[in-house]
């Protein structure tokens, strides 16, 4: 976005009065003036929220493919009684299913549930580490969504709409609040596993300026695309290149008078700072052995996801606004037992480590952590290869699944909502995806009805035309 376009945008940003508060503003202003730009020309400058925020940062743990709630969070002993039998048609007649028919046999969870923490939250044996954080977690057992296929479901979760083209949550948040770190992007995406259905749609800027797009960090090789110097260019040569560029660009700025050039000079300097600060970001050598062990960064199967979790903490520590961890895939249509055990072994320990680490550093109180998938899974089984033992899995289920939140002004140690004894429908406190989005924005100090952007003749927002803040979740 050019400085000029940004000014137009800014004048439309109704909630924005004057320039922003937040840390590092003075330093930032001088940085900009140095290159002939005013701070208000910077689309990523930190901006004041609509009202005081409970959370400054958010880490979104997206469990792609839809984890099975009745094997992890929502115990259903009744299912064991029905195991192997179909449900009466009266109970299943309105169900919309992706692969199986409503007459499919019920699958009781093979996993045991126990109470945890002072709050006595019931959690599955698959989550021994997360269970130790029960008192910090607010578990929602009554999520529902409109989508029951992966790609639309993921679009719905992150952009509030099942059809592509709209900005993702992280883009909305950086558009609303800017970034506090000028050496790193404001919205960072870390991924692990096999790749997600919606791919980069999950962190697209949609119709917002591309300044607000999520920047994928990679967990091997260079963390940001094209961050490393090219072959044969040392740091010294890189600096020399930038100096030469700056000088020639400044000459041209003087002859054309176009502030766009000043903005480009500034972008190159930011690129260089990103290059310089990345090694420190990725240098885990100063982390204690205890921390490394807690996240499981030195062993399988926790290595990749653990590295991402630790990186998430280090990013938030450096002021990055929105960190999204995408882990794929929990799409267990078959071999549920084997598959879900594997994913839990991969993610449970690092997830809990991140919560604990944030807490012990006093960062959890202003970092919102969200965990969950795009929908849940059916109480009925899906069997693709009947001749194989243990082949059973579960189909997609959008009408009652679980997610959890922690930190950032969320009241820990509680369970919100209930589903019926079979887990087919919600019986108490339904929470729709737009409600979840409204709550997330609310914790960041943003009113979801006021965070809008004019596009194609309409003021769009993340929550489309609905969404209510879930008050029960809040401290």
């Amino acid at each position: 976005m050019s400085p000029r376009e940004f000014k137009v945008l800014q004048s439309r940003r109704k909630f924005l009065t004057g320039t922003a508060g937040g840390i590092g503003m003075a330093a930032l202003a001088s940085l900009f003036q140095q290159d002939g730009l005013a701070a208000e020309d910077d689309p990523l400058a930190p901006r004041k929220p609509h009202f005081p925020a409970r959370a400054k940062h958010i880490i979104c743990m997206f469990m792609e493919g839809a984890p099975s709630q009745m094997d992890l969070f929502d115990p259903k002993p009744e299912l064991r009684r029905w195991n192997g039998k179909p449900l009466p048609p009266s109970m299943t007649k309105d169900l919309k299913l992706a692969f199986i028919k409503p007459t499919a046999a019920v699958l009781g969870s093979p996993f045991e549930f126990k109470k945890h923490g002072d709050c006595g939250m019931e959690l599955s044996e698959l989550l021994p580490f997360t269970a130790t954080c029960a008192d910090d977690i607010s578990l929602i057992r009554s999520m529902h969504t409109e989508a029951f296929n992966h790609h639309p479901g993921q679009l719905f979760l992150f952009s509030g709409h099942m059809i592509g083209g709209r900005p993702s949550m992280g883009s909305w948040v950086t558009y609303g609040l800017g970034s506090e770190n000028r050496d790193l992007p404001g919205f960072v995406v870390l991924s692990s596993g096999v790749g997600t259905s919606a791919g980069s749609d999950n962190f697209t800027n949609g119709f917002l300026p591309s300044t607000y797009a999520g920047t994928p960090f990679r967990n091997s090789g260079e963390p940001i695309l094209y961050l490393a110097n090219p072959k044969g260019i040392t740091n010294e040569s890189q600096r020399a290149r930038l100096d030469a560029l700056k000088e020639l660009n400044q000459d041209h700025l003087a002859s054309t008078g176009d502030m766009e050039i000043a903005s480009r000079i500034q972008a190159y300097e930011l690129a260089y700072r990103m290059q310089s600060s990345a090694p420190d970001l990725l240098d885990f050598s100063k982390e204690t052995a205890e921390t490394r062990e807690m996240y499981g960064v030195d062993k399988e199967p926790t290595k990749t996801y653990g590295t991402n979790c630790l990186l998430a903490r280090r990013l938030v520590e450096r002021g990055v606004r929105f960190v999204m961890l995408m882990h794929a895939s929990w799409d267990h249509h078959s071999e549920l037992t084997k598959g879900i055990k594997k994913q839990c072994a991969t993610t449970d320990q690092p997830t809990a480590a991140l919560l604990k680490d944030l807490k012990q550093r006093g960062m959890l109180k202003d970092t919102l952590v969200v965990w969950g998938g795009e929908f849940g899974r059916t109480p009925m089984s899906e069997i693709r290869r009947p001749e194989e033992a243990d082949n059973a899995g579960r189909d997609h289920h959008p009408n009652g699944y679980s997610m959890w939140m922690a930190g950032g002004g969320i009241k820990g140690g509680q369970v919100i909502g209930k589903t019926d004894d079979l887990g087919l429908t919600i019986t108490e406190d339904p929470v729709e995806v737009h409600d979840l989005q409204a709550t997330i924005l609310h914790q960041l100090g943003l009113d979801h009805t006021k965070l809008t952007y004019r596009y194609m003749g309409r003021d769009f927002r993340l929550t489309d035309v609905s969404g209510e803040v879930v008050k029960k979740l809040l401290v």
């Binding site: 980069s200 300026p209 591309s210 040569s237 990103m274 069997i383 194609m456």
Partner: protein, 842 residues
């Protein structure tokens, strides 16, 4: 509700009696009838007549009237109107007093929303007289008179003409997307003929690259991509055939009206040609979801919606999509009209058609029988003729008895979408003897590839269908095949279309017939009882349609000035920006329409003008009065679109492959990019192009929707989901990293260095000046040369210290050049390719 009681009291007294016309009607009209009026009746309520209103009004008793409860939010009811803008206390008091005074309603006061609009864009295109100006000698054509007349008003003088080099680089980039060569620049600067510039314009208009450059602009509107968009994001192996159609049409200067008709309804033209069937591929650019178990009805609905909205935006500049759930809030478009428009697209079947390129047909026909015979033999060898009929029968049984056999259920579900095009579930019901060859082949292929869903992996292995599949593909590849095009046809049978309540595809409302918006001139269907897509296409480009020519010239103008006359090119409605030069817009629109809809002609007219030729230098004296350069007292500096950033680097370094048209390419991209998506397991994985294909123009890069090529994304490349009428021009650190460190750009720098050093020894300053001219089209100033020399020496010293650290900057070393010198030259070249000026059209 505690606070409501005092609130009710507060409304208790309004001193004077109310007047319906003066006080009440305006409130009802502006705040209620939008949702409860003639056009729509939410919750079945109308508030535009007394009889209707009596369902919620008890005359004389506001306390008993639901209307009053609703507007105050009393009794726990949701307050109306919804949303943040509630009725003011005065408005509530007015309605309360009106009810208490008996709710009188004059007999003639039945209000209805007007269908006609005074909005400028819906008025007929005028043909304004060319205005007088302060300096008629400046005007090369009427465009200039309009621009200057507006400048005269504010007593602003236009800018002087840009120097010849800047001008040639500008017009070359704008018309062909490629920078001029040094030879072209030198010839032009030496050409003193008065029409030297016009000659260059003609040369560029005739260049095949003109079609590429302008096709890319159109493809943005067509939301073109090479993949499905959802889930596995399957490749569309023949999407490019539509792209070729656009390039060819623009190169041939196909009149824009014909270009329109062919893309909207080419399949309905009498004796439609292969090209015309490829043209309706426009509608196939919609996203497709083939996930298992998706609701086909929903996605059919979404596709129709997308097709209708895209046509409305690309040609009419309208946001009809806003009326999907309710009447348009700002423009005179009712929800019913939205669905009437959509009805034109409601019943499209997706098909692939043979669309042979020149030279394909002969060899194909010569070998066709031989190919068929070999294919049949292979099928026989693997017992397909024996195994397939029972499979078909079993599938049909599974369809009839869902839930009995889950594996067959899954196989059945997958059949719907697992053919490359067309619905396998429909095809399987056609008796084998009646299937077309194409249908039969698709079904057989689907059977061979997906048999395992039904019978499990063991049996699948026994029949060796994987092996057969490979053999069939190899066989196909070894024989000449015809290029296919993605196309559409109308579904057979009677078509019925419905309004969808609140935009929900499941909630069928009243039946609607295909028609256009009432605020625009009426449709004149060939058969008044049965309006078709072809009628719609002809209506779009009819003489009476005020939007199409305005939207089209606004588009062309935007690509030549970096900004449009109507700055919201996707929204010509009441919420869009008004035109900066309304008379100019109409003059251009009528000229375009009345002179054969020639795109090349319109481009020519604009680039010939003095307005276009102005210098783009900032004018400090205008920075406060016209900061956005709306009045065009100068040209604009414009950051090049993503594709052209790449093309320019490849062009000046001599790497560019200038072949026009054809399949998409897969240039090298960093590991890990494709893996972010889910589709890397199948045919849409990124198979890196080799040889010259790697250096083809950016517009041919395979557009994979779920994991786009990172360089295109970094530079605000095509969005491919909705019609895109304007590219962003952002300026980010990721762009800087991309140009600095991407091996593609380093390779270009090395090639440029090689070119600079390959013709024997020469002083640094001479070579640097040549490289500078090659890259930026102009001679460097002495200061700029000093800067480059200083940098060259600094870099050489760095490399000298540790030559091995510079290894890998280049592959080939020109004869007689020292490695250290070459290494420093690569760095100098990369600086040139990173300059703001390099990626900017001045």
């Amino acid at each position: 509700m505690r606070y409501l009681f005092p609130l009710l009291l507060a409304f208790a007294a309004l001193a004077a009696p109310v007047d319906f016309r003066k006080d009440v009607e305006p409130v009802l009209k502006s705040r209620c009838q939008g949702c409860h009026g003639a056009a729509q009746q939410m919750s079945g309520l109308r508030l535009d007549s007394r009889d209707a209103a009596l369902s919620v009004v008890v005359p004389g008793k506001s306390a008993d009237s639901v209307l009053f409860h609703r507007i105050t939010g009393a009794k726990g009811l949701r307050a109306m109107p919804p949303g943040p803008k509630r009725l003011s206390p005065e408005e509530i008091a007015t309605l309360k007093t009106w009810i208490d005074e008996g709710a009188t309603w004059p007999a003639d006061a039945i209000t209805q929303a007007p269908v006609k609009s005074t909005h400028w864009a819906f008025q007929p295109v005028s043909h304004p007289a060319v205005p007088k100006t302060s300096d008629d000698s400046w005007a090369r054509n009427p465009i200039d008179s309009f621009i200057l007349a507006r400048l005269d008003k504010d007593k602003i003088k236009p800018s002087p003409e840009a120097d010849k080099r800047t001008l040639l680089r500008r017009v070359s980039l704008d018309l062909t997307g490629l920078p001029p060569t040094v030879e072209e620049l030198r010839e032009f600067t030496a050409d003193t003929r008065p029409d030297a510039y016009e000659r260059e314009v003609e040369r560029l208009l005739a260049s095949p690259h003109f079609g590429e450059k302008w096709a890319r602009h159109w493809l943005d509107r067509a939301r073109y991509a090479d993949s499905d968009g959802y889930e596995k994001d399957w490749a569309r192996p023949y999407a490019w055939r539509y792209r070729d159609y656009v390039i060819d049409a623009i190169n041939a200067d196909m009149p824009f009206d014909r270009f329109t008709i062919e893309q909207v309804a080419g399949d309905l033209l009498p004796n439609a040609t292969a090209e015309q069937r490829a043209a309706v591929g426009f509608h196939r650019n919609t996203l497709t979801n083939r996930e298992g178990g998706i609701d086909n009805k929903q996605f059919q609905f979404e596709s129709s919606l997308d097709r209708s909205n895209t046509v409305a935006t690309a040609w009419l500049g309208l946001t009809t999509g806003c009326a999907q759930c309710h009447n348009h809030k700002f423009d005179p478009i009712s929800q019913k009209e939205h669905y009437q428009l959509m009805a034109f697209f409601d019943h499209l079947d997706e098909v692939e058609v043979d669309a042979p390129l020149p030279g394909e047909l002969g060899p194909y026909l010569a070998k066709h029988d031989e190919y068929r015979a070999k294919r049949e033999a292979l099928l026989k060898e693997y017992k397909v003729p024996e195994l397939m009929p029972p499979w078909e029968e079993h599938m049909i049984r599974a369809e009839a008895n869902p839930g009995k056999e889950t594996d067959w259920d899954l196989a059945w579900d997958c059949l719907a979408k697992l053919t490359e095009s067309g619905d396998g579930q429909k095809m399987i019901h056609i008796p084998a003897a009646k299937r077309t060859q194409r249908e039969e082949d698709l079904l057989v292929n689907s059977f061979i590839r997906n048999y395992h869903f039904a019978v499990g992996p063991k049996v699948y292995e026994e029949v060796k269908f994987k092996e057969l599949d490979t053999k069939l593909r190899d066989l196909e590849n070894s024989y000449p095949q015809l290029t296919q095009a993605m196309s559409v046809v109308e579904e057979p049978g009677v078509h019925q279309s419905y309004l969808r309540v609140k935009g929900d595809y499941k909630a069928l409302g009243a039946e609607v017939k295909p028609d256009v918006l009432a605020v625009l001139p009426p449709l004149k269907p060939a058969d008044p009882k049965n309006a078709t897509r072809l009628d719609l296409a002809k209506w779009i480009v009819s003489n009476e349609n005020p939007l199409t020519p305005r939207v089209a010239v606004n588009w062309i103008w935007q690509e030549l000035f970096g900004q449009a006359i109507v700055r919201t090119p996707n929204d010509f409605g009441t919420r869009g920006d008004p035109p900066s030069h309304p008379q100019l817009l109409d003059w251009l629109a009528s000229d375009f329409r009345d002179n054969g809809w020639s795109v090349k002609g319109m481009v020519r007219k604009i680039v010939i003008s003095s307005a276009y030729r102005q210098s783009s230098k900032e004018r400090p004296e205008l920075q406060s009065s016209d900061p956005a350069n709306t009045l065009l007292a100068r040209q604009s500096r414009v950051r090049l679109p993503a594709e052209l950033v790449r093309d320019s680097a490849l062009a000046v370094s001599g790497l560019l492959n200038t072949d026009v048209g054809g399949k998409s390419i897969f240039p090298p991209q960093p590991a890990g990019v494709a893996e972010l998506g889910y589709g890397q397991h199948d045919s849409s994985g990124w198979k890196e192009s080799t040889g010259r294909d790697r250096y083809r123009r950016g517009m041919y890069i395979f557009l994979k929707r779920s994991t786009p090529y990172p360089m295109l994304m970094n530079f605000d490349g095509p969005k491919t989901v909705q019609p895109q009428c304007k590219r962003d021009r952002s300026d980010t650190a990721l762009q800087a990293l991309n140009l600095l460190n991407d091996p593609v750009f380093m390779e270009a720098a090395a090639a440029l260095a090689y070119e600079s050093l390959s013709d024997g020894p020469a002083p640094f300053r001479q070579r640097a000046a040549e490289a500078f001219e090659r890259s930026l089209g102009r001679q460097p100033s002495a200061k700029e040369l000093d800067g480059l020399e200083k940098y060259f020496l600094r870099e050489k010293a760095i490399v000298d210290k540790n030559p091995s650290a510079a290894a890998g900057r280049y592959v080939s070393l020109p004869g007689g050049v020292q490695p250290v010198e070459m290494a420093a030259w690569v760095a100098v070249s990369s600086v040139l390719l990173n300059l703001d000026e390099f990626i900017t059209r001045e």
